[in-house]
């Protein structure tokens, strides 16, 4: 095979029939993926495998004009999912909800109107009581409409992996209910052409009453039940160990995950992968310190490979324990040095910012006669004073490894914001000195579309004592462990207000 050959061929020699099968993966040059003739003209027949096969072949996965590579396929499915799939599901639930709502709203009206349309002459006149019921139906329908709008037509917070069980249950219940009422109506009223109009109106009123009660049930199941705190969950970030505790009610695992993600965005400091590099390099140094050689050669055991690995790791652990490791010294001095450097940079930064802020002040009324060239709006003011503090700020951010979290544009925007709202230099610096919650930073750090829920129990099952699940994001994962809040038994003790009597006591008193 020529070394300059850019096709990869795998030849299988079939002894019986001298057939040569070739599999070719093409490069940019070649265009057709299926071209057996290409293989056959370069084949070496009937001999054993080329000994140099491993060294001289090149494996190239690329794309040609007519074929799709694996990467493209993955990218297209991802785009599809992102744009069409999820939206499709969201719109589907919306549409179903709207259909159900319209059905629910129009059913009582239909019950009232159909007798007038179908058998107007047979119908009894609607008396005063009946007309009173019209008012009642009207207002109850209005209340129902507002209640449904308030509870169900809120902007969705998230798209969860599985269907929300209670919501599905309720919509099925409503559907069944309305269908059964329609059935009864169709059979007993439409077919029999019942003349008693008041009875029909009362029937419609009872439907609306029952719908209001179902709505009450919906409020209790969807909103009220999860308010009472029942579990204390401990959320830990896997990369740097940030831990928070929250109290949650009785929720399904996916809803608990959603609540925790919303808390995450406001409570946890932003994830900064640059801070983890030090520990990774230390870990690498630990591993690189020892090399294990096996001088006995492969032994006569039935799985020598496994036994070898086992004994190797044991030997490494034992040797590492015995070795006098001085890496703790390095860590200590490095951290002390880093601390000092950060403090020095911080001092320079604070001084620079304070000095920069003294260069501008708000324009007073009497100074309005100044020429318009001198008057600046906040953005221009920020741009004017930014250069004097830019260097100090940049150096500080670099020392604390935060420079990729803040862009120049965002810093200037923040400066303009602080100037507009009369903030002091200390207030301006606060967002750079301590890492804030994730939402404070730019959109591409939010990673809101990339959470994966990993759980051993089904995600629609409820939280239980000892439930553990993971929320994986791109660089890190949140480990969540739930514990039940204990049942509190409180007892009462009555103190008579007259029993508060006191005597003087010397500093120390001994009884003899």
């Amino acid at each position: 095979m020529e070394a300059g050959d850019r096709t990869l061929q795998v030849l299988e020699v079939c002894e019986a029939s001298e057939e040569i099968k070739g599999v070719i993966v093409t490069t940019e040059e070649d265009s057709n993926t299926n071209s057996p003739p290409l293989a056959s003209c370069r084949s070496t027949t009937k001999t054993s495998q080329d000994d140099n096969w491993g060294e001289t072949t090149t494996a190239i996965t690329g794309t040609s004009e007519h074929s799709l590579s694996q990467e493209d396929i993955v990218r297209i499915t991802k785009d599809l999912e992102d744009s069409v799939g999820l939206n499709c599901r969201r719109y589907l639930t919306r549409i179903l909800a709207v259909i159900l709502g319209v059905l629910v709203l129009l059913t009582p009206l239909a019950f009232l109107v159909l007798p007038h349309l179908l058998w107007p002459d047979k119908l009894q006149k609607c008396g005063t009581a009946c007309e009173g019921l019209y008012i009642s139906i009207a207002f109850k329908l209005l209340i129902l409409l507002l209640a449904v709008w308030g509870l169900f037509f809120r902007p969705p917070r998230a798209s969860l992996p599985r269907v929300f069980a209670f919501r599905a249950l309720l919509s099925v219940l409503v559907l069944l209910f309305v269908i059964s009422y329609w059935l009864f109506y169709a059979v007993r009223i439409l077919e029999a052409q019942d003349a008693d109009y008041q009875g029909i109106v009362q029937y419609a009123v009872s439907l609306v009453d029952a719908l209001l009660f179902i709505h009450y049930l919906a409020v209790v199941l969807l909103e009220l039940r999860q308010l009472q705190p029942c579990f204390s969950v401990c959320v830990t970030r896997s990369t740097d160990g940030e831990t928070r505790h929250y109290n949650l009610g009785q929720l399904s695992i996916q809803q608990a995950a959603l609540a925790i993600i919303e808390h995450y965005y406001s409570d946890f400091p932003v994830h900064n992968p640059a801070l983890l590099s030090a520990s990774k390099s230390r870990a690498a140094k630990h591993l690189a310190g020892l090399k294990v050689y096996n001088v006995d050669g492969p032994g006569p055991g039935n799985n020598p490979a496994a036994g070898l690995a086992h004994s190797q790791s044991r030997a490494m652990i034992a040797a590492a324990a015995r070795r006098r490791d001085t890496s703790h010294n390095e860590l200590y001095y490095e951290e002390a040095e880093h601390e000092r450097r950060v403090r020095k940079r911080k001092a320079r930064l604070v001084v620079a910012v304070e000095e920069a802020f003294t260069h501008i002040k708000r324009m007073q009324e009497e100074e309005q006669k100044k020429s318009p060239g001198d008057v600046m709006d906040p953005r221009e003011a920020a741009q004017a004073i930014f250069p004097s503090m830019a260097r100090a700020l940049q150096k500080y951010l670099r020392t604390t490894k935060q420079q990729h979290c803040h862009s120049m544009e965002s810093i200037q925007q923040h400066l303009a914001f602080c100037i507009t709202n009369n903030m002091t230099p200390k207030a301006f610096l606060e967002s750079y000195l301590t890492p804030g919650p994730t939402l404070q930073y730019s959109r591409d750090r939010w990673l809101a579309r990339q959470w994966t829920l990993i759980s051993e129990a089904s995600v629609t099952s409820g939280l239980r004592d000892g439930t553990v699940f993971l929320l994986k994001c791109v660089d890190f994962s949140l480990v969540i462990a739930a514990k039940k809040i204990p049942f509190v038994q409180m007892s009462e003790e009555y103190i008579d207000p007259k029993s508060h009597k006191f005597v003087l006591r010397l500093q120390s008193e001994t009884s003899v």
Binding site: L504, Q507, S508, S511, V512
Partner: protein, 128 residues
């Protein structure tokens, strides 16, 4: 009972003899003491002079040996079995009172009413 530095302390004292009562493994006297040179004299409610660091009786259990012998609350103990109690620490005072091999303690105590009684009897005209 006021203490003038450099001058010997003079006081009118009463001699009280208390028999210790054995309660189980302990011998009790039935009263509580407070004060001492290592304590805060300002917190003593029974002393006139708030700089007085002597040992005072703060509680007497009713019906106990001290009560029977006539010890009163607020008494200042000057001597216990010959040992001085005016310049001792609280713990030293406790030790002198609770020696296990002694069954009787002889106290010299002073109180304000004693001085007044002496003054009154001195100011009364003598028996004619």
């Amino acid at each position: 009972m006021s203490f003038v530095p450099g001058q010997p302390v003079t006081a009118v004292v009463e001699r009280i003899e208390i028999q210790k009562l054995s309660q189980g493994p302990n011998l009790v006297l039935g009263f509580c003491i407070g004060g001492g040179i290592d304590q805060d004299p300002g917190q003593n409610p029974f002393s006139d002079d708030k700089a007085d660091k002597g040992i005072y009786v703060t509680r007497v259990s009713p019906g106990g040996p001290a009560d029977v012998a006539g010890l009163k609350i607020g008494d200042k103990i000057m001597q216990v079995n010959g040992w001085d109690m005016t310049v001792v620490t609280h713990d030293q005072a406790r030790k002198k009172l609770t020696k296990k091999n002694e069954h009787v303690v002889r106290l010299l105590v002073t109180r304000k009413t004693l001085e007044e009684a002496v003054k009154q009897s001195m100011s009364r005209p003598g028996p004619s």
